[in-house]
Amino acid sequence: MGLLSDPNRRRALISLLTRLNSPICVVCYMAGVAWFMGLAFEPFTLRTYMSENAMGSTMVEERFPAGERALTTGREFSAHKKKAGGMPVDWLVKTMQARGLEVFTQRFSRKLPFPDENKERYMVKGTNVYGILRAPRAPRTEALVLSAPCTPGDSNNQAVGLLLGLAQYFRNQIYWAKDIIFLVNEHDLIGMQACITFSPDSCRGGSIQAALSLELSSDVITSMDLVLEGLNGQLPNLDLANLFYAFCQKIGVLCTIQGKLQRNDWDSVSGYSHSVQTMMLMVMKQASGRPWGDHGLFLRYHIEAASIKGINSFRQYKTDVTTIGRLLEGMYRKLNNLLERLHQSYFFYLMPSLSHFVSIGYYMPAFGLLAVILLLRALDLWVQLATPPPRTEDGITDKEQVSSPGVLSVLTPLVISHLTGVALYTLPIQFQEMAVEQFPVSETEAVVLTAIGVYTAGLALPHNTHRLLSGEGTEQGWRVLKLVAVLYLAVLLGCTALINFSLGFILALTLVPVAAFVTPHVPKVLSAFILVILSPACTLLFSVFFFQELQELPVSFQEGWLLYLSVISQGILDHFLYGSLVYPLIALLVYPCWLLFWNILFWK
């Protein structure tokens, strides 16, 4: 700071920064990306460790014996499900009651804003069944949740069977200090939401401390997969992942995250690319902001939750249901020991493997290096604006000329681009009926195509802006506009990265170069092409392909395009159903911000 209070040195520093602005920006960008890629390198990451004292030192002994019986129950459930053509509510109620639980059912119905073509639903009606194991001598203040979804078709019957088996076993134990809610939810997240948004007959058992959602579709499995990413990229406390990992190690179950096993050869290229893949999958999932399992909605209520999926692949090593039951028993007994909510460990982290994690302190610099580019550009612009142009005679009159249209020339594009954003946010839902009448498309297609249409129409913005603006845009005018836009983008990305690092980082990767290089003086066609390529919509398109590539399920362009359309519709649905923030963030803030740069490119 002493540096800045000395005017000479300050001047020298600023001149250095303005002179070397572009090279520094390039270096920062490279460094940011390199830092990010380095996060997956094992020596740079930390091993996971249990922070919560109540779950660490006391080892519990797992004794769950009744895996076979659980499978039989699962088959029974499947038969009743077929007979009832959906949730076998009566059978579940009877079975849970026979196991000594307090059983409740909850009916819910929901009308989606437009039909969900992936899951083929529009008017959703369903029933949740949940049985509460009341802990002896506990005052109903705390609870744990174990849920299994009742899905159509033949999947997930084993999960319900195991849930009922565990309920029976748990009921006969005396050591419970928290109520345990055994929930079978219909219509996955919609049912889950009905269950946890508090209403007179929602699943209540005091304040819920932790929740696990179980998915299991075969009698034997090869590995258990842990899904952490919840709504808006929220993650559960890292101790929950640690707990899962610790018990998998103890019981000898293969465990994966993002479907990737852990490898020991971190020093080889393939080992490194494996952990990069794992981490990138997590980043992509988190950035999408949608819940990746039925647990996803709990996180908003400050309830630590995760989904556990049993995977049956063609490996030699098989695990039976009894072992999974013991795994869950161990986890629930440890959670039962909790004296406080899980709070000791990290809430912000990335996992390149189940045994290693990157905490917020390590990954934030990668974003910081990208964000500093914006600040450097802003400084450069500020200096350019502050030093008057080297004309000596009518410098003063020139300045006045510049500043008077300045406000309007900045405000007009700002307002217009935000209005376009509002249109992008509201029109697709508003006009779906009209679109269905006018064109031969379904509602979902109408919504998605309207969204794309509005997005593309926004590209004509410079034309509209100039019609409103009186006279020609000046040299100073675009500088002021760009200064505002760059700072706006910096604040926007900074806030996004704090809430959802992955989303912030991916947006920064594409938008920062745009913000850095765009001026009215660069070659128009080429720049316009680059700008469109780096726009949020195209980022999403590339992300879809990249995600498929990471999952080792490459798709052709045709399939990718269809996937892209369904992702857009999913994003809009997630917002209207669960309150996911990604769609409004893109539509109302990021897209208008990008339009400002588009506007600068076509500045006249």
């Binding site: 005017p7 508090f198 400050h302």
Partner: protein, 650 residues
């Protein structure tokens, strides 16, 4: 035996004052001849003829005294007893100058097999002492009444004291209504005598003393969790004083009840845990249960019908529910041994009455469960608005113990059904909303009566750190606004007193009434957090007190053996009954700083303030200019010369 009759009178009086102890009108009937009835009435008639001229009040008291004398194993002849009566008769005309206070002890166990397969055991020990602490009498001789409590009553001028320790929550939907309701944790309410001037000071001292007596954290009761309910807690004993300035009510929902609270409680019993029903109170079994609640109630009661003088009644109650799945391994078969790992061999020798009641109302023909050994004695009583039938085992009779000289009651279920009950009134409560800034407390009150509406008194005491927005208070039933006819609200004062909200709400028939109020979570000072702040902060149970229309009154086409003329207008006692329902306590998370890194935080803030803020402030508020240092005298002179020469200065 006359003491037993006297307790009937007392019980009737209790009913009139809307008691929570609802043991009403217990009439013993016999099945196998009038054997028992004659034993009951024998002494009454004989002494009645012996002393016809005496005052009825004196007569009653004397009977009580003789009953106690005779309860002791010492089997002297009746002449000695009657001699004593004769000598004491002239002295007892003035009740205040009784030389030897007379006391009486009864013990009783009620066992109710529950629908869910669980079993409910409720102990009651009642000590009545004909003495008067009220007028500053110093009493130093104690017999059956525990001295520790007697001293507390006289020192702190307590008129009525009710304290309960509960571990677990009573599951109304599965178990029906309890005989003595109590909230989870500790609850204490005390009526002081109107001679007390500094009620708050006395209350503070009293809680500390009780804390020592019961080994509980009652010393944590202070002004921040004490309220003065205006309507919900009326005196249960005699007396018309209802100025709630002399009432204090507090709950500690976090209090954990265990053996260290049970032992002092057992020590208050005349027989300790050496003999009588208290033998069954073994902590390793009592705390291996679904619900455990122990309580002490002290109140003044009438000595006789005319109620000229008062006596002190101490009731110690203990309720416990054993779980079908944990304690019985899922087998629907209960015995005293299985429940308490003890059997009974004798009554407490000091007790004038010692009985076990088994609720067989749902089992008139023995098709649900069978009870062995069978007993000829049956008793009927209206309990909680419902006419119940009980099998009675009188432990003072040797025949009860049979040939093996030990009583091990066995209840074996024949059918198994575990349907949920629909109690006429029940309530629940929860916190809605997410985030750590605001929230909403929802209280749901269910009236399951098919056609009658009834009013309930809702009492909510919320700690100050949840700042209630009372303007958001809504009461709705059946989707419509339900305006309470009485609201008493006392706002909280930060760190001084809690919110108190009392409302009288009419519950429409067959409805759910929802009371919601929003709150803001306060940010505490860093020393005010508990050692485990992330566990959350407790809000005590809401208390719902009500007169509920009774099931007996609902039973219009009664086919019981009642004369027609008696059943047209519903009887007042039977038409409604008093119920107190407690909701579950709440666990609310407050915004909590990360206490694990105060050092980091302190370092960071100090650095930011010292370096960052200081310099930035400096940069922003000062303008920097380059200023030439003023030249020295020689230089100035040189410059003047140079100026004169027309040469540029140095």
């Amino acid at each position: 035996m006359a003491a037993h009759r006297c307790s009937n009178c007392a019980a009737l009086l209790i009913l009139c004052s809307l008691s929570v102890f609802i043991v009403v009108d217990s009439q013993e009937t016999t099945l196998n001849g009038g054997h028992h009835a004659t034993t009951v009435h024998n002494p009454q008639t004989t002494t009645g003829t012996a002393e016809q001229t005496a005052e009825p009040a004196v007569e009653e008291r004397r009977w009580e005294a003789t009953a106690v004398e005779e309860a002791t194993p010492d089997d002297d002849d009746d002449a000695a007893a009657s001699d004593k009566q004769d000598t004491s008769a002239p002295e007892t005309v003035d009740p205040s100058s009784v030389p030897q206070p007379k006391d009486d002890f009864q013990e009783e166990l009620v066992i109710r097999p529950l629908h869910s397969g669980d079993i409910y055991a409720s102990f009651q020990f009642r000590t009545v002492w004909e003495t008067d602490f009220m007028r500053g009498n110093k009493v130093s001789h104690y017999r059956l009444f525990p001295k520790s409590l007697g001293q507390v009553i006289s020192k702190f001028s307590v008129r009525e004291l009710h304290i309960s320790f509960t571990q677990g929550y009573w599951r109304t939907m599965q178990w029906g209504q309890p005989f003595q309701p109590s909230p989870p944790g500790a609850e204490l309410w005390v009526w002081f005598q109107d001679s007390v001037t500094d009620v708050d000071g006395t209350w503070k001292e009293l809680t500390n003393v009780l804390s020592g007596i019961f080994c509980a954290s009652l010393n944590f009761i202070d002004s921040t969790n004490t309220v003065q309910p205006s309507a919900s807690f009326k005196p249960l004993g005699i007396g018309n004083e209802t100025d709630h300035r002399f009432l204090r009510y507090a709950t500690l929902p976090r209090e954990i009840v265990c053996t260290e609270n049970l032992t002092p409680w057992k020590k208050l019993l005349p027989c300790g845990s050496k003999a009588g029903l208290a033998v069954l109170l073994k902590s390793e079994k009592l705390f291996h249960s679904s619900f455990h609640s122990q309580a002490v109630h002290i109140r003044p009661v009438c000595q006789d019908w005319q109620c000229k003088t008062t006596s002190w009644e101490l009731r110690q109650t203990l309720n416990v529910v054993f779980d079908l799945h944990n304690s019985a391994q899922g087998k629907r078969e209960w015995s005293l041994f299985k429940m308490f790992s003890r059997t009974l061999t004798e009554a407490c020798p000091l007790a004038s009455s010692s009985k076990i009641y088994i609720d067989i109302t749902d089992n008139p023909q023995g098709e649900q469960f069978e009870v062995s050994p069978a007993t000829p004695l049956l008793s009927q009583a209206v309990v909680l608005g419902d006419r119940r039938t009980f099998s009675v085992y009188d432990l003072t009779q040797q025949i009860t113990f049979g040939t093996v000289r030990s009583l091990n009651l066995l209840i074996r279920w024949k059918s198994s059904e575990g349907d949920m009950l629909r109690p006429l009134l029940h309530a629940e409560r929860y916190v809605a909303g997410y985030g750590l800034q605001t929230g909403e407390i929802h209280t749901l009150m269910y009236n399951n009566h098919p056609y009658r509406s009834f009013p309930v008194l809702l009492l909510d005491s919320v700690p100050w750190y949840l700042r209630l927005y009372i303007h958001t208070l809504t009461v709705t039933s059946k989707g419509k606004d339900n305006k309470p006819s009485y609201i008493h609200y006392q706002p909280s004062k930060d760190r001084l007193r809690p919110h108190l909200l009392e409302m009288l709400v009419q519950l429409p028939p067959n409805s759910v009434t929802e009371v919601t109020v929003q709150f803001e979570r306060a940010l505490l000072k860093w020393t005010e957090y508990t050692p485990d702040p992330n566990h959350g902060f407790y809000v005590g149970s809401s208390v719902i007190s009500s007169l509920v229309p009774s099931i007996v009154a609902m039973d219009t086409n009664s086919t019981r053996e009642r004369p027609l003329f008696s059943s047209f207008f519903p009887c007042k006692e039977e038409s409604s009954y008093f119920v107190r329902v407690y909701t579950e306590p709440l666990l609310v998370n407050l915004p909590t700083p990360d206490f694990s890194m105060p050092y980091n935080v302190i370092c960071l803030t100090c650095t930011v303030v010292a370096v960052g803020y200081g310099s930035l402030y400096n940069l922003l508020t000062r303008s920097f200019q380059i200023e030439e240092p003023s030249p020295g005298l020689a230089k100035r002179i040189a410059n003047i010369i140079r100026k004169m020469r027309g040469v540029p200065p140095l």
